[in-house]
Symmetry: C2
Subunit: 219 residues, 2 copies
Amino acid sequence: MRRFDQQLEDLQTRLLEMGGRVEAALHNSVGALADRDEARARAVLAGEPSIDAMEIEIDDFAVRLMALHQPMARDMRLLAATIKINNDLERMGDLAAHIAERALSLMQEPPLPVSDILRLAQLAEAMVHDSLDALKSQDAGLAQRVLESDDEVDQLRDWLYRRLILWMQSDGPAVPSAMHQLFVIRHLERIADHATNIGEDVLFYLRGVDVRHHAALAG
Amino acid sequence: MRRFDQQLEDLQTRLLEMGGRVEAALHNSVGALADRDEARARAVLAGEPSIDAMEIEIDDFAVRLMALHQPMARDMRLLAATIKINNDLERMGDLAAHIAERALSLMQEPPLPVSDILRLAQLAEAMVHDSLDALKSQDAGLAQRVLESDDEVDQLRDWLYRRLILWMQSDGPAVPSAMHQLFVIRHLERIADHATNIGEDVLFYLRGVDVRHHAALAG
């Protein structure tokens, strides 16, 4: 068997690979929505099972390392953070697939403007990217900035919801498209929430302080 | 320090207590929605931080037991299942709070019929109850039935969505209420999904077989 610290490194590599796949799925689902690109949406859906399989593999690997090595303090926090981040990534993969499904449904309906949803998607994508970057480079400052970005997402989401309600009230035939868009907005918001969770887990790992549920942050 | 098997039992007791609180939060959020009962909705929101705190406590307890005792096979599966179930319960608590928020928003709008949403809520509540019961009584058959109930939830949800679209298309002023209801339906659906996760985790613990992502179930 390889040395424990080498195994820990292998585990991190797999987790970052999973992160890369989830980022690609998100990017493609949003691209499919913007360009009404059916093939691209279907490719996201086709890729979901491999993300699910990877989650189970990483989970098993992390639990096995915990059980076999009884790691102390920092290493134990890394394993605990890995299990949580892995779970957040798998859920993001699901949400990217949900966006791809909505993109397919939207292709059946008359187009509604999408540019402001794309702005929300860019914010969410940047948060996902930064949270993984913070993990990779062990950068607490960057993890902290991910947590702070979540407010901007919430503001844009509220504005988008209000506009959708106006569209639905003034234009009955637009209701199905608006409803699909509403779910896309919700999925993007939840992706941003999962990126926030990853930022919190990175801070927990680096500082040993639990910042879940927005407890006060040590500076 | 108490014996390991006693500590495992204490952990299970805490997890089932958490389950009871989440069940109550769900029941009260749905009751607040049905009866337009502001005080009851606010009580759900006030109770959320204590559910969040309990999640962190149970999580720490389980990880500590893993690290200290290096349990084998069945005990290790119980601890891994506990961590996952704990996380699902915390998310259900969040979703119950979201329902309570929507109940408050709906009180500001003209009433829409709710009886079919209450039917969906009953299905979701029964799944939550049965999943916790399966955990408590180590009943694989009951856990299996929770997994099977999820289809009924999905069918009712689709029917509710179609009806909401018709309401929004024919009655502009009803759009804000319909949108709040749409989110309630979504939250209930996700609560049912988390109950399904708990059912899967109970099966994993009892049988040592991973049934996540709807892999084939051994009979």
